[in-house]
Amino acid sequence: MNRVYVNEQVCMGCGLCQVYCQAEHSMSKDIIKAFNRDLLRPLPGLRVERKGPVCFPVQCQHCDEAWCVYSCLTGAMHRDMATGAVVVDRDRCVGCWTCIVACPYGALVRNTTAKVVAKCDLCPEREVPVCVANCPNEALMVGEDRCGSPNWDCHRVEGGTEAG
């Protein structure tokens, strides 16, 4: 599964990734229009954290063991079988926010106007997510995740099965 990685050492916390993310997910897809004219300024699918010298963006990790999916009360949060990305079906989401309490990264935000949850969708219309493409310091990377997410709901104690 692809996800966006950050190299903390080169991130300077400028927040451009967030600005581009918001613009990309706006009606107009234009930065100026999105911030100054669009009626509903879109929510960013990432959050830039800054604390002392440390700064980095946090976005959805598209976890293998996706707690947001397990917790979703409606089935709106799901894994796209074609891309492997964890995505939300806005029509089915009711804005109950259970997934927000379940996500250990704080990677989900409330869209209180539309009553749906917002998150990183890895920019399905682009080859490279817009945050990665526009980071002036090349602090962001997108790539296949081979180590897998921390397995938080369980751990396998013995592998192997005859089944399947």
């Binding site: 980095f56 397990y70 935000v109």
Partner: protein, 447 residues
């Protein structure tokens, strides 16, 4: 359904067709694509989202819009669903389930994902027309058609289900009075402070809340005309919803060797005391890591994950449950609350409470030996997931506990090692872009 004396044989039999059952079926199919999988449910629908019953009652969702999985889910996963059919009795030694339709099913591995039944207290008049529980689609349909001619309702019980039916009835223009026996609403989920915020919010929405009292009788002839409280006070109403709680549905374990305490007792593999029989969800009593004991925690997430663990084990992949605890997001009457674990500390000396209240925003964490064991977030809930994650991982937070409630709390507050582990980024000694290449297969960076 056709009566058939011939027993149907199945590798996996799942009784139930809701969060726990679907969690198990999906996990089973991840491991075993072909083993015969049969699900039986006495509700005549594909799996639907029980928490959406209030949206259905309020007229905001149709049945089709509240299905938990796409319509072709069962076909896609080679699952035979026998819906609208109840399992009457189990014969464990011969592994036969007897269905109400007369059919018999023999299984190899069995999962009891039978959920809960509403608690209905012994009080006069509960059999009158206009008295309902609120647990199934059938309940919601019955209330919906009755509510058309109703003007006032009394909801008995101020817990999550009570508040959710109250919101739906309020949207329908029905005036609601909540009668809660304890001294505050949502008392099993929230602490006093958050309960009082929720109660104030209910009152502002026009809901009457009576605490410290209970309904002793429902008055009227054939139809409900009101309730009488234990104080003798009468409240006129034409609709009563009893929402005082849910009990594990354990009827199938009667006269069997399966051990039942409050719920069906399961070990860390979701296995009951009887080999080859598993349980999960509202029916089961599984490990709660906050209380370090088996407990009934009737929430959707625990049902789904418990089902998932059961499914893997049933398919032969030995998988251990790390335990769950209560966790809820509430979003009723425009007030967002997130809560998990034990929100009021037991009086142990090694407990510590950190809380902040400001402009209607309230945050609190309860720590035991520097590990988070409870949390409440009111209005600003976005960071609650990070705290809940620390709680699930039993992370020692001593070095950053004062930051847990900060407005800008986040992974930046974590010690560096923990943060890197979470974000799975290379350690500080490496720092170059290529260092990450060991972990990622294909990297694309800025143009």
């Amino acid at each position: 359904m056709m009566a058939n004396r011939q027993a149907i044989g199945t590798e996996y039999l799942i009784i139930g067709n809701s969060a726990g059952a679907i969690g198990a079926a999906e996990a089973l199919r991840e491991v075993d694509r072909h083993g015969v999988l049969t699900m039986v449910s006495d509700e005549p629908y594909p799996a639907y989202c029980r928490p959406l019953l209030a949206k259905y009652l309020a007229g905001e969702r149709t049945v089709d819009e509240m299905l938990f999985r796409p319509a072709d889910f069962y076909a896609q996963n080679d699952i035979t669903l026998l819906s609208g059919n109840r399992v009457k009795r189990l014969e464990l030694d011969s592994r036969v389930a007897h269905l109400e339709s007369g059919e018999q099913i023999t299984w190899n591995k069995l999962l009891l994902a039978t959920g809960g039944v509403p608690i209905v207290p012994k009080m006069g008049g509960v059999d009158k027309k206009g008295v309902f529980t609120f647990l199934t689609l059938e309940d919601a349909q019955a209330i919906a058609s009755f509510a058309r001619n109703a003007g006032r309702a009394v909801v008995v019980g101020g817990g999550l289900i009570g508040i959710s039916v109250t919101e739906a009835l309020t949207k329908l223009g029905i005036g609601v009075t909540i009668v809660e026996m304890k001294d505050r609403v949502l008392n099993t989920i929230l602490d006093e402070e958050a309960s009082s915020i929720a109660e104030e919010n209910l009152r502002q929405a026009g809901v009457a809340v009576i605490t410290n009292h209970t309904v002793s009788e429902i008055s009227g002839q054939a139809f409900t005309e009101g309730v009488v409280l234990d104080s003798g006070e009468g409240i006129p109403c034409d609709l009563v919803v009893i929402a005082i709680g849910v009990l594990p549905r354990t009827e199938l374990t009667l006269n069997t060797e399966i051990r039942v305490n409050r719920g069906i007792v399961v070990d860390l593999y979701m296995s009951t005391s009887y080999p080859g029989v598993y349980s999960c969800g509202d029916a089961a009593e599984a490990y709660d890591f906050v209380y370090a004991a088996n407990r009934v925690t009737p929430i959707w997430l625990n049902a789904y994950i418990g089902g998932r663990i059961a499914g893997h084990n049933m398919a032969g992949i030995r998988t251990e449950y790390r335990g769950g605890t209560t966790m809820n997001a509430l979003s009723y009457f425009g007030l967002d609350i997130a809560a998990a674990g034990a929100v009021t500390p037991s009086d142990e000396t090694n407990c510590e409470v950190i809380s902040r209240r400001q402009d209607g925003i309230y945050r609190k964490v309860v720590l035991r030996d520097d590990v988070v064991t409870g949390m409440v977030f009111v209005r600003e809930i976005e960071k609650s997931g990070i705290v809940f994650g620390l709680m699930r991982d039993r992370t020692n937070v001593s070095s950053f506990k004062q930051g847990l409630l900060a407005d800008d709390f986040g992974l930046a507050y974590f010690p560096e090692e923990l943060r890197r582990e979470r974000l799975r980024t290379p350690g500080s000694g490496v720092g170059s872009r290529s260092a990450a290449l060991g972990e990622v297969e294909r990297l694309v960076s800025g143009e």
